[in-house]
Subunit: 237 residues, 2 copies
């Protein structure tokens, strides 16, 4: 059975995105929505809570749900989105070149990052992202060898995520990210068009599967003028 509350959620998102309910307008009440979608109130509430979590609406007790303006700071880059999805959304002229792809026996440094045992193997992929002909992002990915046994070279030029979720059948669960600013390494200077920039923005991500197993560590190194991160945050209860 298709999950009703997810179907409703996506339908509501579509309605907001196509301005059926414009910014600052009110959604139909929960009771009305139960009639529209022929379902129970709790199911509607699950869908609405997803909308609230993802910054589409604000629920106000006694009044209803009001549509939030997401374009104010433009689209959220937050969440777990791959470079390819992002580029497609923005319709940028982008290219990905694989600088390096190797199956390594994890060094101490990699072992501590991926938390694998001694003598464990891992994939190391190094890629350069080019936007409008300028090399602006250097991605260094490490995958746990036990979880990702094969990583064909041609896949790396495309979307590794599509391969991992589609071909291998793994499902990503969550990610922990850290954003800091560093001085460029020699590697950064070689592979990026830094043009005098004396800093790079580094996003370090630990990516976990649905069963909470760590399977990837990534360092995404950006030229500072092409970096941008948008976030939506709710007050912690």
């Amino acid at each position: 059975m298709q999950k009703k509350y997810l179907t409703i959620y996506h339908d509501l998102v579509k309605n907001i995105q196509t301005n059926v309910w414009p910014t600052a307008s009110m959604l139909p009440s929960e009771k009305e929505l139960t009639i529209t979608y022929d379902t129970s109130r709790e199911t509607i509430r699950k869908a609405l809570n997803l909308l609230a979590q993802n910054g589409y609406i604000q629920k106000i007790r006694g009044k209803g749900s009001i549509v939030i303006d997401r374009k104010k700071l433009s689209f959220p880059v937050s969440g777990i989105t791959s470079f390819k999805e992002l580029a497609n959304n923005l319709q940028l002229d982008t290219k990905t070149s694989v600088v390096n792809l190797e199956y390594i026996t994890a060094t101490d440094q990699v072992r501590s990052l991926l938390e694998v045992e001694e003598q464990e193997d891992a994939w190391k992929v190094c890629r350069v992202r080019t936007i409008d002909g300028v090399r602006v992002i250097l991605d260094k990915d490490y995958f746990v060898g036990e979880i990702v046994p094969k990583l064909p070279a041609n896949i790396c030029e495309e979307s590794i995520y599509e391969y991992i979720e589609g071909e291998i059948g793994l499902t990503i669960g969550f990610a922990q990210k850290e954003i800091i600013v560093e001085e460029p390494t020699e590697e950064d200077k070689v592979f990026l068009d830094l043009e005098g920039f004396s800093n790079v923005v580094v996003i370090k991500s630990l990516i976990y599967l649905e069963d909470a197993r760590l399977f990837q560590y990534t360092e995404s190194r950006h030229r500072p003028d092409r970096f941008r991160f948008v976030d939506f945050a709710r007050r912690i209860k």
Copy 2:
């Protein structure tokens, strides 16, 4: 009546933080928790879903809830946290100096940021944050005058948030944030100890009340070496 699911949520968080259930261990099953807390399963599930949202646990169907290691990238700075709360958590030697505090008739620029009508008034606060004797953060806050009628100078040296949520009785609902890197302005150069850094990290935040009214715009300008942002993200369904 105290909200049961929130009480349970905070109790579970405390148990995780005090290592009653260490990283990678399993929480008691939902059924066991209903007995422990003498409540229904749905109430337990509400609390557990909050834990999952905030990166404390990963729920795995058929198995149970596993505790996530949050210290891997250390605590999340994400969410809506004030400088004061942050400094207290980290036990840093910090100081806040008010550079400027004025009640202004909104200029075009401020009006578009705060989305207020023509001739509306707003508070403009400019503060420098000093950590270990070094001026590393420049905060520029704008508050909608209609919502925050008074803003005593002594409050600005302390926590404006405590004042707004405590004294005025407003409740913050959510925030939209954007992180980018800019070249330092003349103002940055005057008020920050940039020591040759040629970039500043800028966090622009639009902060909304519980009823979705925009009431604050903030630019937090950081010296890049003292900037750090940690995020927890779940896969979008």
